[in-house]
């Protein structure tokens, strides 16, 4: 090894998106310092418009492919699709919650940390080696830890931050142990090399141990049962926009790396992990839905429902096929919109009434028909009622496992029906009950846009899934081209 070996070429233009997002995050931080306090609420618009611009750039990059630095960084439609999904999620969260953030204060830090968390997710989506993967994950997690306890005068928020950092640290340790075993067995951190080397060796017990640890470590991140204990408390305590971003962005990014890790690096031991994932998916769907039923706090209800949703998404991993990857990506994309809709309503409602309790949602349909309608559409989509997008998404996911895992299909079907019960309970409270305080809730402009957008996307994808399905097909296809 020569001391100054720069023989591996780096093409900076391939990293355009990451650099733009990093620049946006740094720019917001600096703007926050130099702008007077009254002008800081404008930072939300700067972040939103910046993200929209970068999404535009990302769309023009569609179709790019290649590997940077000998497989350290993978560029394909798969990564690009996830990156766009994360940025859309961040943009929706920012657009829908500006007033909430003004109330919490620290706008510059809030917006720049949101953008840095997005950057972490984007790095994860492209990571081709274990180190990039881990650092992207930590960038996202550390940014989220700070965001979770940003409402630092509120004990619940601080407690949530405490719980999150301890459990995130522990799960990272477990994950790292698994990754280090993988490195010890193969001598490489690059996933494509790992996959080649594992294919040549017999399956060793240490590899099984590594698999168990990686599944446990990443199971925490997607809050799959039995690694889900942290999520309801953290979701309830965190500021609502952060909860919303945590449940869609963090989860989607974790799925992006799980697919990459298991299907790019570990396809050789597929029969060792497929059943484990299938069983975990089954348990997650059952427990998530059953525990969601008695919840009386809307954020806790959505937290448990998002655990169940993670279970549905895991179903797509079981077959390690192109169709499965397509299902995961399709579902994650529409889940972003449904979650953004539901949580924006919850955050705005909290802003006006100061309550997250389900009983205070009584008569919301009379106080604000739009908020009630968006909540209803989002929840029904999560339940998988046709013609909403969630139905199509679940169809794509479960279609992949009809051969061989019929029991899991039945669990999914039965539990989807069970979930309708608690989703409709919210609808019942909103539409049937008389409001205690009948004063109408005026929804501000940006929130109206967010709500209508999420509702329209959920409806349109449900009725006409063709275009998104084609995009996702091309993304899933590019996954196997490396």
């Amino acid at each position: 090894m020569t001391p100054f070996d720069f023989s591996i070429p780096i093409n900076p233009s391939a990293l355009t998106l990451e650099m733009l997002v990093a620049a946006l995050g740094l720019g917001i931080l600096i703007l926050g310092i130099i702008s007077p306090k009254g002008a800081r609420s404008g930072l939300g618009w700067v972040s939103f418009l910046g993200l929209m611009g970068i999404i535009g750039v990302a769309i023009t990059m569609w179709g790019q492919s290649g590997e940077l630095l000998a497989g350290m960084y993978l560029l394909d439609n798969y990564a690009l699709f996830w990156k766009i999904t994360f940025m859309v999620a961040a943009a929706l969260v920012i657009l829908g919650n500006m007033r909430y953030v003004d109330k919490v204060g620290n706008q510059a830090e809030y917006y720049s940390l949101t953008i840095f968390a997005t950057l972490g997710m984007m790095v994860m989506a492209s990571a081709g080696d274990l180190m990039t993967l881990y650092l992207g994950l930590e960038l996202m997690t550390i940014a989220f830890v700070i965001l979770v306890c940003l409402r630092k005068t509120d004990n619940k928020s601080v407690e949530a931050g405490m719980k999150y950092i301890l459990l995130a640290g522990m799960s990272s340790a477990v994950l790292l142990y698994g990754l280090s075993l993988l490195y010890g067995l193969t001598g490489s951190v690059i996933m494509l090399d790992i996959s080649r080397i594992i294919a040549m060796q017999p399956v060793s017990p240490a590899l099984v141990l590594a698999l168990v640890m990686i599944i446990a470590g990443l199971g925490f991140k997607i809050s799959a049962v039995p690694f889900h204990m942290w999520s309801p408390d953290v979701y309830e305590g965190a500021p609502t926009p952060v909860t919303s971003f945590l449940s869609m962005g963090s989860k989607a990014a974790s799925f992006a790396i799980i697919l990459r890790l298991f299907i790019t690096a570990l396809p050789g031991v597929w029969e060792n992990w497929a059943m484990v994932i299938a069983i975990l998916a089954g348990i997650t769907i059952i427990i998530g839905n059953l525990v969601a039923m008695p919840q009386t706090n809307i954020k806790r209800l959505l937290a448990y429902s998002s655990i169940a949703q993670a279970g549905y998404i895991m179903v797509g991993m079981v077959t390690a096929s192109e169709a499965g990857i397509k299902g995961v990506m399709f579902y994650a994309f529409l889940y972003v919109f449904a979650t953004a809709g539901a949580f924006t309503v919850a955050a705005y409602f909290y802003n006006v009434t100061g309550s997250d309790e389900l009983k205070d949602y009584a008569g919301l349909s009379q106080r604000s028909p739009l908020m009630a309608a968006v909540m209803l559409v989002a929840l029904l989509s999560m339940a998988g009622i046709p013609p909403l997008a969630g139905f199509v998404g679940k169809f794509y996911l479960f279609k992949t496992i009809v051969d061989g895992y019929l029991w899991l299909v039945f669990i999914g079907l039965i539990m989807s029906m069970v979930s309708v019960y608690y989703y409709l309970r919210v609808a019942l409270v909103m539409y049937r009950d008389e409001p205690k305080d009948p004063s109408p809730i005026n929804v501000s402009g940006p929130v109206t846009v967010t709500l209508i957008l999420t509702m329209l996307v959920t409806l349109i994808i449900g009725i006409y899934p063709g275009p998104l399905s084609e995009v996702v097909n091309s993304a899933a296809h590019s996954f196997f081209l490396h």
């Binding site: 090894m1 020569t2 001391p3 100054f4 070996d5 720069f6 023989s7 591996i8 780096i10 990293l15 990093a22 995050g25 931080l29 306090k37 940077l68 630095l69 000998a70 350290m72 960084y73 620290n106 830090e109 720049s112 940390l113 840095f116 950057l119 972490g120 790095v123 080696d129 180190m131 990039t132 650092l135 992207g136 930590e138 960038l139 550390i142 940014a143 830890v145 700070i146 306890c149 940003l150 630092k152 005068t153 010890g184 067995l185 001598g187 060796q201 060793s204 017990p205 240490a206 590899l207 099984v208 141990l209």
Partner: protein, 176 residues
């Protein structure tokens, strides 16, 4: 690769020191004592790195972990109020469950690792005499993306520490 008897003795000695000191970190009731054992753990780790010819990493381990991190913890303890120093690192009631789980994890780890036929991975190049140059070159060529992400990660952590530790009243006065 020929392994000398000294290397084997050094490895087992260091490994025993690390495990023993790490256990004491958990079991000491006075948190300052725990920190001292933590420093021993870190220094023994540096010894392990040295035995692998990673002299730069060993130096960083001593400077950053045994030095800075431990001193930060002690400083943190100093400024936090407490009643009795001997009751600062206590167990909760889950001690039996914790012991059981740890024993199970260790047992499984040992069995799985023990039954694996480990392939000895020989590096393509010998360790260069000057490891700092090689590490620096690698960080800015092959590993440049994780390197830059780590830089941003530190920035985020720094911003977060300031936001969370900042006194709200002081902040409000500064703005007015």
């Amino acid at each position: 690769m020929e392994t000398s008897i000294y290397a084997v003795v050094a490895f087992y000695g260091l490994a025993a020191t690390i495990l023993g000191a790490a256990t004491m970190v958990v079991f000491m009731r006075n948190i300052v004592h725990s920190v001292l054992f933590l420093a021993i753990t870190f220094i023994a780790m540096a010894g392990l790195f040295l035995s692998l010819d990673a002299d730069f990493i060993a130096a960083v381990q001593v400077l950053v972990y045994a030095g800075a991190v431990c001193i930060m913890i002690v400083l943190g303890i100093m400024v936090i109020q407490r009643t009795d120093m001997n009751e600062t690192n206590l167990f909760n009631k889950q001690i039996m469950a914790g012991a059981g789980l740890t024993a199970l994890t260790v047992a499984f780890g040992a069995i799985f690792a023990g039954r694996t036929a480990w392939v000895e991975l020989v590096a393509a190049d010998a360790v260069p005499a000057n490891t700092v140059d090689a590490i620096g070159a690698l960080l800015l060529s092959k590993y440049v993306i994780p390197f830059e992400v780590a830089a941003l990660l530190l920035l985020v952590a720094l911003v977060g520490a300031i936001v969370l530790a900042r006194d709200e009243e002081v902040q409000a006065n500064a703005d007015n």
